[in-house]
Symmetry: C2
Subunit: 369 residues, 2 copies
């Protein structure tokens, strides 16, 4: 993989990725308009024991622009720069223009707002990036060739390495919100990366369970889940001996799917080429089944969970992807509402076995090894 690391005129970073070397002449464009200089803050929620990010300038962010104003398309007219240059790049990552986490020039400076002394507050340090999957606005991750999806795993590895090396980053989380149903504001295929200054609470809770399981049994919790899912077999969507995809027996969303290597790998930057190739096949097969299920682009939230970059070893961690699709039928959303938000108790209105069988029955192209 070749990476060209550039800086936009407003100071934001841009990295172009490709299999082939990229020409030296490419420059980083910067869209017109002012780039905000936010100083977001964290506020401590004493009941939930979690940080809330307060990032007020984001209200003005780009919201469903028309195709001519797509900031993720390559720049064709130098008078109307987008976020990305023309050129033979395959994937690109740039710093979000409307980030909810920033590096802070001087994190010891006073917080911007009048504070209440009793409210525990801190600078919201971190990095928010946009990951552009392709130059074409009308494609999708699942429609890309396997080599490109493999490249995405390399991009995630690079970002995990680069962002995780920053002193103020403790956790790197790639994710994708696909579809209007989950609030995607740009149709161009892309994901995001949040590099947090703290290990976020869902991740911390999951790692704690994994650490307890490792301590108690000597085995990884996710590796154990995978062993059991493979033995049962009814919910398995993909298995090539290296990677698996399955609807977990304890799925909270009707079409929830997990993808991961069978053997624990802690982080994206520790995956080897063979495992990346296998994971790319697993990921593409799941995305093809999703889009094939109802013959429409299938909305989802995809999150990547891996080991923190907080300097601790985390032998309990096991790199994997989780999909939370918001639909329970072609025209019906599974709402995350009172019971889920207020109690934390999810209701899955269907059997994971039934949903897995539906996804298994979707005909998809054979994915060559």
């Amino acid at each position: 993989m070749h990476a060209r690391r550039l800086t936009k005129s407003d100071g934001r970073g841009l990295v172009l990725y490709a299999r082939a070397p990229l020409p030296d002449t490419i420059e980083a464009p910067t869209p017109a308009g002012e780039t905000p200089r936010p100083r977001p803050e964290l506020r401590w929620h004493p009941m939930r024991a979690e940080w809330v990010i307060v990032s007020e300038h984001r209200q003005g962010r780009t919201y469903h622009p028309d195709a001519a104003a797509n900031p993720l398309a390559p720049t064709l007219d130098p008078q109307r720069p987008t976020e990305l240059p023309a050129g033979p790049w395959e994937m690109a990552v740039f710093e979000n223009r409307f980030p909810s986490l920033v590096a802070w020039d001087d994190p010891s400076a006073p917080l911007p707002h009048d504070g209440d002394a009793w409210l525990q507050r801190a600078p919201a340090r971190g990095v928010c990036e946009v990951v552009v999957y392709a130059q074409e606005a009308d494609t999708s991750l699942g429609a890309l060739p396997l080599e490109r999806i493999e490249l995405l795993f390399e991009v995630w590895a690079d970002r995990t390495r680069v962002l995780g090396a920053k002193s103020f980053v403790e956790y790197v989380m790639p994710f994708e919100n696909r579809g209007l149903e989950v609030g995607a504001t740009l149709a161009h295929p892309h994901g995001q990366i949040y590099a947090y200054g703290f290990v976020p609470p869902v991740v911390a809770a999951e790692l704690a369970q994994q650490a307890m399981h490792l301590e108690a049994t000597g085995k990884g919790l996710i590796a154990d889940v995978i062993t059991h899912e493979l033995a049962d077999g009814r919910r398995v969507l993909f298995d090539d001996g290296t990677s698996v995809a399955f609807v977990p027996g304890f799925a909270r969303y009707p079409y929830e799917v997990w993808i991961g290597p069978r053997e624990a790998v802690r982080r994206a930057d520790e995956l080897d080429a063979r495992t990346r190739a296998s994971l790319a096949r697993a990921l593409k097969s799941v995305l093809l089944r999703y889009d094939g299920l109802w013959g429409r682009p299938f909305p989802y939230v995809m999150v990547l969970h891996q080991a923190p970059t907080d300097g601790r070893p985390h032998p309990e961690a096991h790199f994997h992807l989780e999909f939370y699709p918001p639909l329970r039928a072609p025209d019906r959303l599974k709402y995350v509402a009172g019971a889920e938000l207020g109690a934390g108790a999810f209701t899955n209105d269907s059997l994971p076995e039934t949903r897995a069988a539906e996804l298994r029955a979707v005909p998809i192209e054979e994915l060559a090894r």
Copy 2:
């Protein structure tokens, strides 16, 4: 308050509530069609350490019926029974026809689905109820007179007492999903109650924080938050010396509001008449501000948090309501997506102080004491 406790022909309970005595002649109607006899199960999510409710029959539940088929309207034509009778009732509670939690006739019976031995499963015991706020389909909780809203606090008290007394109920949570944006499938003003066979994870986590605070300081955590919010003042929406309403300084949603008594009361059934009257004023004033903000019915998730009914004393608990409105602008949703669902880290795109000022500026009628 007068309550008439009836049973529908399919075995489901119905309770009618009113200030005045209700005639003996009222009978409980049962809508046409088969009432499912579900046996939902719990499955243990080993990574999040929480139960997932699997309740497959609910896919067929009532979904945006037209007005003529509104199951929450009083029965006018005995040939077309709804869930509710005609008569002088003011509020009504009945068992949900499509519950995700049920009592289970024989909880020691085998679970209905083929199990994987490794998946931890249990009967999903509990009760799901619908709380109908009014006979009229075209009103809303905030539009009801204060006496009716006071009655709702009495209804919540009755349900907490009755449901909490069941051996298999450990937590009673009233809530309301208002508006299409949070998935309400019936427009008729109503809330719900889930009586859980376990203390759900969000509640358990919050109680743990409250217990630690009580242990460390001798004071209640919510009472302390209220003291600080009143001292700061910028985010307070209502204060009559007995109850308060405020946007918490650590709000996760732009228009999040909490309502509660200043002095800790553990549960709805321990509120006295004076406090109920005060809370009704606080609640109505918040709902009027919400609907007045943009001149449209304001969607929200409302949840009631109180002490569990698990037989332990819970001196740390403090009855209160939390509102999670999904909008950040009249036409823009705040999506709960990748960062919130995958990391548990909420971003509030605005300052709680600013949002509180907006709500405070909404002109509302004076609410007589």
